[in-house]
């Protein structure tokens, strides 16, 4: 045993490449492309859920002659904050992933430059009203919806809930779990759902929800994996806040029915935007990249790579999605300007309700 370990130590050190300062820089050392009409690098800053298939990255680099460098970290809120504090010396050329709950902050802080990109068909529907697509180009759309464990309700001969009102119905007492609006982006979306649905009366609805023993946990992973009955960890609650796309992931092996369903009358629309940063080092390359992100090839890849729907209406959805991930026809929407104006007050009021 002792000898074995002594032998393994050098091996372990060798395995790490004895990295003295070589951390991952090897890949970026590739020589700049020689062909193409626009040599140089374009830097895309985004959140950590961003995922562009490698073949599309290659396609972009071949077509444009640009090198694409992706810097992804944090969530949409962190991304927007980063852009705001670094606006005098931006951290890249293009930002992807500012969503409708943070769009107004980005616009107010002037972090985006004029885009000058013609939006393809179907995309106008998703622009920020105050901006009309001049700075922020819609990229993808997803919905935060209440999900239910259909098997759980079938076993008990109980109809699953269908509406927001149902969640406060004593028949569903103690069955709903949602992430916190303070620390989770879908959690904030659900708070906005209730604001859109109940207007001024949203605090009253939340009082009912809490009186019906709704559980509020830290993040989406805690809710879905820790407390939801279909989450794999022996959770206790068959109703959870998640996404419209989630049911496509809970199709058991050998079955073609998903074991969960999204309640399409409880959905809030989340749109993600991209734009060229003001003061970018390579604004022209940035525009080429935004146009590429709006191209049918990228839009069609969005569902599989990022679990969201394309904003273009002329691309086809993957078969599994078409079957299991239904989009709500009439989701709740709150104007980004209104969100920006009230977010702090709503969050404070919500916090006081939940922590009372």
């Amino acid at each position: 045993m002792k000898r074995l370990l002594t032998l393994l130590l050098p091996l372990a050190l060798a395995g790490t490449g004895c990295s003295l300062i070589s951390t991952g820089d090897g890949e970026s050392a590739a020589p700049p492309p020689e062909s193409g009409e626009m040599p140089g690098t374009v830097v895309l800053v985004t959140h950590e859920s961003f995922n562009l298939p490698k073949r599309l990255v290659r396609q972009f680099e071949e077509e444009s002659g640009l090198d694409l460098e992706v810097r992804a970290s944090g969530d949409a809120g962190e991304l927007t904050t980063k852009l705001a504090v670094t606006r005098d010396n931006p951290i890249g050329d293009v930002a992807f992933g500012v969503d409708n709950s943070f769009a107004s902050r980005a616009l107010e802080e002037d972090v985006f430059d004029r885009l000058g990109v013609t939006l393809p068909a179907g995309v106008e529907e998703y622009v920020v009203p105050a901006d009309a697509g001049e700075r922020l180009a819609p990229m993808d759309v997803g919905h935060v919806c209440v999900n239910v464990d259909t098997a759980w309700f079938a076993e008990r001969d109980l109809d699953p809930p269908a509406t927001l009102d149902d969640l406060a119905d004593p028949a569903y007492e103690g069955l709903f779990v949602t992430p916190s609006a303070l620390s989770s982006s879908p959690g904030l979306a659900f708070l906005l759902t209730t604001v859109a649905a109940y207007g001024e009366d949203w605090p009253g609805y939340w009082e009912d929800l809490l009186a019906n023993d709704t559980l509020v946990v830290d993040g989406w992973s805690d809710a879905y994996y820790g407390d939801f009955t279909q989450g794999g960890e022996g959770g206790e609650r068959p109703i959870v806040l998640s996404y419209d796309s989630s049911p496509a992931f809970t199709v058991p092996q050998g079955s073609d029915e998903s074991s969960t369903a999204a309640l399409l009358d409880t959905c809030f629309r989340q749109v993600e935007y991209a734009g060229v940063l003001a003061g970018a080092a390579n604004p022209d390359g940035g525009r080429v990249l935004v146009e590429f992100l709006l191209s049918p090839a990228v839009q069609a890849a969005l569902p599989e790579s990022m679990y969201v729907f394309p904003v273009r209406d002329d691309v086809e959805l993957p078969a599994e999605w078409a079957e299991h991930a239904e989009q709500p026809a009439d989701p709740y929407v709150v104007d980004p300007a209104e969100i920006a104006a009230n977010r702090d007050a709503w969050l404070q009021e919500w916090r006081d309700l939940v922590t009372r």
């Binding site: 790490t16 990295s19 950590e48 995922n51 992706v70 805690d222």
Partner: protein, 543 residues
């Protein structure tokens, strides 16, 4: 200024520069943004937040939870340090290595395991602890008890037992020996460990949110909320300053309590366990059970697919997950983690050694002592300040040549080394400080130069804690999430980032993979710790 003081400052220059550039500058930049909102000094908006009753409540909860968690960790850690570092029993090293595992586990995974245990349907559900402050404290203790065991155990190991034996011969009971002989000798180490644990607890982020739900906020979670959600940088800056004030006050207190007296050291063989060790053994078993239960439930979960036992989750580690949830395979992320950890470790140990040497040399004048004291506290600061403030600060200050580093892959190991540095320093200082300076004088009078004196007097004693510190730094780097997630580049994610990403997607395979990846992370950490333990053993022969 005399030459000694100049020498001291020269030696301190490198670590001071490192911490200055990568910590003071960014935090200062972020504070400036808060206090000079539009270029004009306007502290009014910032100070207003300090008068809110919520701020006072949050501060109170932060201090309370950190103090209780630190006390519990020390009370549980002391007997375990004794059993694991002074007595011998089979598998001792394996147990010591396993105890460091909590240090690297992702908080979400631990949170789920804890809540399963404490939740209404869990085996401990009858205690009704789910979502209470007690659950938060338990979580904090879980993550930090290893710090006490390591730091105190390292000092205890090299303690000369003869004074205690003499006291016992003179009729002192074991309790009296412990209280009057052992404890005073251990005090610097205990204070060191407690300070580090307190700072870790006071700045804990994920575990507070996961176990406390939305009900409990600490200064750290509040700074995050104010910065990212509310975008009130003035209020966030005020809270960061408040955090700094608390940390500095704590460090001053700790320094008073840590008055270092020379301690006689001699290599001693670990004793066999005897009946007299009943109490510490019982306490150690309690710690082990406490640490083991979440880990066992994690391992069990990782071995199940569809309610059946299976290795499928482990087989999937070579892939990028269900529907390519990841950019790289989990195994590739492990290699990334190990490479980053090697860099973070040499940075932390190199700087830490310099710092420890500087702050422990005996002072000849009050000025000198004060300078050393200041330096000592200065290097603890990174542990006590919000990672959010530091993270955003790095982006806005290190953005101009010659320090245009914000895109550099180097920032990740540097940030991790900054977190590990205080641990390395606190592991080395009690031992170095305990060396009787007369030994160095004796060496000098026998004709040894300064280097020779370090090699023959300091190094033999320092070798073990140095390895312990390196192990610590390695574990910190392997498990670090906050700073890494902020700075890491997408093509080079570490294992904790990959686990977080898997946990962010629905799908049973992704969840199973996240559990298996956490086990892989834990096993890697335990394995590296075991190797470190091996090296420590061979070093005994060198005495």
């Amino acid at each position: 200024m005399n030459r000694r003081l100049l020498g001291l400052l020269a030696l301190a220059a490198v670590p001071v520069l490192v911490v200055g550039v990568f910590f003071v500058l960014p935090v200062g930049g972020m504070l400036a943004l808060g206090f000079w909102p539009d270029g004009d000094f306007a502290p009014g908006a910032a100070l207003e937040v300090l008068t809110r009753s919520r701020t006072i409540r949050v501060l109170g909860f932060t201090l309370w939870s950190a103090a209780v968690a630190t006390t519990v960790a020390v009370l549980l850690g002391l007997p375990a340090a004794y059993v694991l570092h002074r007595t011998s029993f089979p598998l001792r090293r394996v147990v010591r290595a396993l105890l460091l595992v909590p240090f690297v586990l992702p908080t979400v995974v631990v949170g789920v395991a804890f809540r399963q245990l404490l939740g209404d349907a869990g085996p401990l559900g009858f205690l009704g602890l789910d979502g209470t402050p007690v659950a938060i404290v338990l979580g904090l203790v879980f993550f930090n008890v290893a710090v006490v065991i390591r730091v105190v155990g390292g000092a205890w190991e090299g303690l000369d037992t003869r004074a205690g034996q003499a006291a016992a011969t003179l009729g002192a009971s074991p309790v009296q020996v412990f209280r009057t002989v052992t404890l005073p000798a251990l005090r610097p180490a205990v204070t060191s460990a407690a300070t580090v644990v307190f700072l870790f607890c006071a700045t804990a982020f994920g575990i507070v949110l996961t176990l406390g739900g939305t009900r409990y906020a600490t200064i750290e979670t509040e700074i995050y909320l104010l910065t990212v959600q509310v975008f009130d940088l003035s209020a966030a800056a005020a809270l960061s300053v408040l955090q700094l004030v608390v940390v500095v006050a704590l460090l001053v207190l700790a320094q008073r309590a840590r008055v270092v007296a020379p301690v006689s050291r001699a290599p001693s063989r670990p004793r066999r366990l005897s009946r007299a060790d009943g109490v510490p053994v019982a306490a150690t078993l309690l710690v082990l059970a406490f640490v083991a239960i979440p880990i066992v439930s994690l391992v069990a979960g990782s071995l199940q697919v569809d309610g059946r036992w299976s290795l499928q989750n482990y087989a999937a580690l070579g892939t990028t997950g269900d529907r390519d949830a990841l950019q790289v395979t989990v195994t590739q992320a492990l290699v990334n983690s190990l490479r980053t950890a090697v860099d973070a470790t040499w940075m932390a140990v190199g700087t830490g050694l310099l710092v420890a040497l500087v702050v422990t040399r005996r002072s000849r004048a009050p000025v000198e002592r004060r300078v050393r004291g200041l330096l000592d506290g200065f290097f603890m600061l990174p542990l006590g300040v919000s990672a959010v403030t530091l993270g955003f600060g790095l982006l806005i200050t290190l953005d101009q040549p010659p320090l245009d580093l914000r895109d550099s892959a180097l920032l990740v190991p540097i940030a991790q080394a900054l977190v590990a540095l205080p641990l390395v320093v606190r592991t080395l200082v009690p031992v170095l400080g305990g060396i009787d300076d007369r030994q160095r004088q004796a060496a000098a009078s026998l004709g040894a130069g300064p280097l020779r004196s370090v090699l023959t007097v300091d190094l033999p004693v320092l070798w073990k804690p140095l390895l312990a510190g390196a192990g610590f730094a390695f574990a910190v780097s392997l498990g670090e999430f906050g700073a890494t997630s902020f700075l890491a580049r997408e093509d080079f994610p570490t294992l904790p980032l990959v686990i977080f990403r898997l946990l962010g997607h629905p799908g049973e395979l992704n969840y199973g993979m996240a559990l298996a990846a956490s086990v892989l992370l834990a096993a890697t950490t335990a394995f590296v710790m075991l190797l470190v333990e091996r090296l420590r053993v061979t070093s005994v022969g060198a005495f």
